[in-house]
Symmetry: C2
Subunit: 212 residues, 2 copies
C-alpha cells in the first residue's frame, strides 16, 4: 500500500494512526502542500485524486481518497476493530468522529485558511479568529459529549475511529495557539492516546517530510 | 423515531431520503434555524445536541447527531442496503459520499455563510463567490470520479449513500444560483435520482416546515 500524505495534514495523520494500529506495511509518499503552489495541484496527483486533497491510499487497483473511507476500508482488513460490532455503539463512535472530521477539520484546513486570510483579506488576525471560533464551537460540544461517552478514550475503554479523529484536531488547534484549558476531559483523553505507540509513530514531526 | 431537522438543511435532507428509502416511520420535528436567532441554539435543543446543528435522530434511548452516523445506523436496521457488502465497493461509495458531506456541505452551510457574509463582512456578493468557489471545486472532482464509477446512479446501478449526499448539494447549489452546466454526468445522475419516490418525499419543499 502507498499512502500519499503531508506531515501536517490532519486527515493524513488520522490514516497514519490507523495503519500503525493495524500494523500494516505501507510506503509513505509525501505530497508537499505548500512548495511550488502545492504538489497536490500537479497533473500527476490530479490523476490520483482530482479533488487535489490529501490523503490518497493506493492498494493494488484501489485508489481511495477521503480519510474516513480509507480508515473504514482498513478496518475491514485486519487488526483491532476501530468500529464496534454493535450498531448503536458504532453509531456513537461515528457521531463523535464526524464531529471532528466533518464539522471541524474541513473548515480549518489549508485551502480554507488561504481563502479566508487571502481572498477575503482577513489576514493573519482574521485567520486566527476563524480557527479559534470553530475550534471552540466543536470542542465545546465534544467536551459535553465526552461526559456521556468517554472512558479511557473517547467512547469507553477501546481505541476507536473517534480517537483517530480527535488527536489530529488537537495538534492543529495547538499549532494555531488555541487555548485548550476549557476542555479538560478532551485533553485528558488526548493525553492518554498520545501514550500509545501507534499514535506516537503517526505524529507529524515523526514523518520523513516534517520540517521542524 | 423522531427526526429533528430543517427543510432546507442538506444534512437533514440526506437523512429524510434514507428514512423514506427504508420505509421507516418517523415523526418529523422542525427546528427553525433562522427564527428568533435559531431554535437550534435553545437550551432544550442543546440538551439533545450540544453542537447546535441539525439533524438529530432519537430512537428510544439513542440520541444521534451527524447525518452520516444516522444513515449508517439506519442502514443496519432494515431495507435496501445503502453500503455494499464488499469492502472495496463500500469504500468507493463512502469516498464519493464524503466528497459531498465532508468537503463541501460543512463549508457552505448556514453558520459558515453567516460568518463569511457577516463577521468577515464579505456581504452577499462575497457569500455568493464563496459558495460558487467551493461548489465548483467539489463538483469538478465529483464529475471526474463519476466517469469511473457511475452507472444509473453514482456508483453502479444501485442507490447508495453517495446518492443521498449528492442530491441535497445540488439543491443547495441551485438555490444559490450556481451554474451546473459544466457537470453533465453529475446532473444526469441527479435527475434520475429525483424520479425515485423516496427522493421526492424528502425534498425540502415537501416538508411541513417549508416556506415556499
Amino acid at each position: 500500500m502507498q499512502l500519499y500524505g503531508y506531515w501536517r495534514s490532519s486527515a493524513s495523520y488520522r490514516v497514519r494512526i490507523a495503519l500503525h494500529l493495524k500494523a500494516l506495511d505501507f510506503e509513505y509518499k509525501a505530497v508537499h502542500l505548500i512548495k511550488d503552489g502545492g504538489e497536490q495541484k500537479s497533473a500527476d496527483y490530479g490523476q490520483l485524486n482530482p479533488a487535489q486533497l490529501v490523503p490518497t491510499l493506493v492498494d493494488g487497483d484501489l485508489q481511495l481518497n477521503q480519510s474516513l473511507a480509507i480508515i473504514e476500508y482498513l478496518d475491514s482488513l485486519s487488526g483491532p476493530r476501530l468500529l464496534p460490532e454493535d450498531a448503536k455503539q458504532a453509531a456513537i463512535v461515528r457521531m463523535l468522529a464526524y464531529d471532528m472530521a466533518c464539522d471541524l477539520q474541513p473548515i480549518v484546513n489549508l485551502r480554507i485558511l488561504q481563502y479566508v486570510s487571502g481572498t477575503l483579506e482577513a489576514g493573519d488576525e482574521g485567520r486566527s479568529a476563524w480557527i479559534k471560533h470553530w475550534v471552540d464551537k466543536a470542542f465545546t460540544a465534544f467536551e459535553s459529549r465526552l461526559q456521556t461517552y468517554a472512558g479511557t478514550y473517547c467512547v469507553g475503554d477501546q481505541v476507536t475511529l473517534a480517537d483517530l479523529c480527535l488527536v489530529p484536531q488537537v495538534y492543529n488547534a495547538q499549532r494555531f495557539g488555541v487555548d485548550l484549558t476549557p476542555y479538560p476531559t478532551l485533553m485528558a483523553v488526548h493525553d492518554r492516546l498520545q501514550q500509545l505507540p501507534a499514535f506516537a509513530k503517526a505524529r507529524p514531526e515523526a514523518q520523513p517530510d516534517a520540517v521542524v
